[in-house]
Symmetry: C2
Subunit: 429 residues, 2 copies
């Protein structure tokens, strides 16, 4: 499938920039859309531009190595339905049509490319309903479309999965009248409607919109990363805010180094003050999210970066727990419990990684685990105990972590073995 | 691609069994070939049988759920070239032809299915050259084929990748003469030759051949598993012999339980005698190979079995090292070194698994690591130190393991980070 991107609108420039080339979260709006489309299987693009923005957009497309061709609309005042019509000879069969000045989130594009017809949202979270184009749906198809509808079911997201038959309608309308809006074409074509609700999509008209979009992108960047309870409800709320501030200033790799350094410092602080060390450990846990968030929002995530980040997490956890053990424990049996805590902490990560290595699928996608004990949870518990020190002995922390993580390990192993005997059964006829 | 399997030979039965249905390494010869072909992309089979073995083979094929059709050769005395001719209407285009009474190894099939023409071996390791069919090659094609060639380049493996044009030759020959051997068809067709050298393939004629094939299968079952030095040169040599004896008696799961138990016992023996515990630890390391070997030879390997096995390895290693630490160390700093040894031991596995989870490709396929420290190597070193106890203090062992494994971890991390900056560079234009 090919995608047609409409960038020929006559909208005033914002901050002196062509609208599709405005940077949001460190990347041009058009870059975001095209990269997301590429990620979800669309490799060829037809970009409709106008005479005034042509040069800038073409040089942007060339610089970023996209597989594109350009159509020039020399009468942009005739509307974006007319722009669509001009792309007529560039696509055949099914194609995607998207507004060049809209921000789409990864989750949105993932669902939308699988849709058909007009992609609509019944629960838009980032737009002004008064300004947006509404759609009334009847029997799964567009019954009416426009900004001023009184009765409507959903909002037009600016993302369509059409087939080349719409060009005939666009052509007819272009012959009949001067201005042809996209909604005019859709009104006549009556395509099916696909609902993609509550995901990130919005058009960007003002600097205020840019800020809103960035906020939404950073909030989205912490999702679906297999976070534990503390991460979802505490760490991400803080880290995504910090990420937003730092995104333009530091690279993901810098953020990795900073959070690693914070983790190492927390281990050293054990010799100064255990409560302080615990707080620093929790701070490093919050900072740990930033590299990934910045990388995802600025579309620079690298998979090796993710691997290195995990390894550094293991090093920080090891250093903190073993330093705390050596600094506060004495008897051999106490050390055995500390060993158990270190072991359990590792195994929680190890099992899920070993599983993913074998099945190329996340452990937690297949199995749900009841016992807590993910990294964010362990670190938070460690901080709580450290704040109670010396009233509460660190041995209690080690017992707590050892029991919790090893219970979780036992649960994970049990779920594996259960599914294992099932699978073995399939093989041994 | 489809595969045609010739099972219509008039060979005497062996031990009262139809030859393709003789069990070798716990599985029928035909089952092995068909499962390996399935594993490498061939999903449909045409099986040529004769009147006498038809019923047995059909019920075998049905029981195992293969996607097959059967051709009956009611004149098997006319040779296997005639059998091939009878499959004429069942295949079109390229197809695989294989002897139903040949044992093929996984490595052989993997390469052979990608070949074209007659798959030949210039360096056969498992057959009697006097008995085998020889091939003389000229300009990449068969120049002469037969058992009695004086000058030849390689041996016919009984595995072919042909196209349907051979059927015309087979048909013509079947009209001209009574007996048509496959070599007669090949001699006329002059197909290309693909060399697959030194891999496992052999025909099975006698109980002696069965033993030979099993020996070869077990030897092959320890290969390509990412073994370290000790495993390749010591452990596998012992374990594959034990596996051969136990294969009919125990399941892979039983073997997992036995080696896990041996590992746990080795940790408990620390309280009795450290040299004894070290020897038991090394024995458990040898036994650790058996479950996988039996599973692979009997074609019952399950991927979850592999995951569980890895997790149990981590538990055994943890228990041994931490018990040894608690039983023999005293000062806090000593424990820190023990923590480092446990940590490094884990991280060696963790990094490679984390990498594989991300890239669905083995770490060691992409990076070569110089510093030793794989599990088999660590355990062997541990045994050596334990035999020197109490003359050599266990602290020396922990220092040695800590340094070795953490150096290896540092090397692995370095290789990751190096490739990381390269990859980041690709993203940040």
């Amino acid at each position: 499938m090919k995608a047609v991107l409409l960038c020929s609108g006559l909208a005033r420039r914002m901050n002196g920039k062509v609208k599709p080339l405005i940077r949001v979260g460190g990347r041009e709006i058009l870059y975001r859309s095209m990269k997301l489309l590429e990620r979800h299987g669309i490799q060829e693009f037809t970009v409709v531009v106008n005479e005034t923005n042509r040069e800038e957009i073409e040089s942007f497309l060339r610089k970023n190595g996209f597989n594109f061709d350009v159509v020039i609309n020399d009468a942009p005042e005739r509307g974006n339905g007319y722009s669509l019509f001009l792309a007529k000879d560039r696509v055949s069969g099914r194609f995607i049509l998207a507004m060049g000045d809209h921000i789409f989130g990864d989750g949105f594009v993932e669902k939308a490319v699988k849709g058909v017809g007009v992609v609509c949202d019944r629960n838009p979270r980032f737009i002004d309903p008064d300004e947006a184009t509404k759609v009334r749906v009847e029997e799964g198809r567009v019954a009416e479309i426009g900004k001023k509808l009184e009765h409507y079911d959903c909002f037009d997201t600016g993302f369509f999965v059409l087939d080349s038959s719409v060009f005939e309608i666009a052509e007819r309308l272009a012959k009949e009248r001067e201005v042809v809006e996209l909604s005019d074409v859709i009104r006549d074509a009556k395509p099916p409607v696909t609902f993609v609700d509550g995901e990130l999509w919005m058009d960007v008209d003002t600097p205020e919109d840019v800020r809103k979009a960035e906020k939404a992108l950073f909030r989205e960047s912490g999702k679906g990363m297999g976070d534990g309870f503390i991460s979802r409800h505490v760490n991400r709320k803080v880290s995504t805010r910090i990420s937003r501030i730092l995104a333009d200033r530091i690279s993901p790799n810098h953020a990795t180094v900073i959070s690693f350094a914070a983790g190492i410092i927390s281990s050293l602080l054990i010799f100064v003050s255990i409560p302080l060390a615990g707080v620093m450990y929790q701070i490093s846990s919050i900072l740990d999210g930033i590299d990934g968030e910045i990388a995802r929002v600025t579309m620079r995530s690298s998979r090796i970066g993710g691997v290195v980040d995990s390894v550094l997490d293991r090093i920080v956890d090891f250093l903190f727990l073993s330093t705390l053990a050596v600094a506060t424990l004495s008897a051999g049996v106490e050390f055995f419990i500390a060993f158990l805590a270190v072991f359990g902490s590792f195994m929680v990560s190890y099992i899920s990684e070993r599983y993913r290595g074998e099945f190329s699928e996340g452990f937690y996608r297949r199995f749900s685990v009841l016992v807590p004990g993910k990294r964010d949870e362990r670190i938070f518990i460690t901080m709580i105990f450290s704040l109670l020190y010396p009233a509460v002995d660190t041995l209690h922390l080690f017992i707590f972590i050892a029991v919790l993580t090893n219970l979780r390990v036992a649960e994970m192993l049990l779920r594996l073995v259960k599914s294992c005997s099932y699978i073995s059964y399939q093989y041994t006829t």
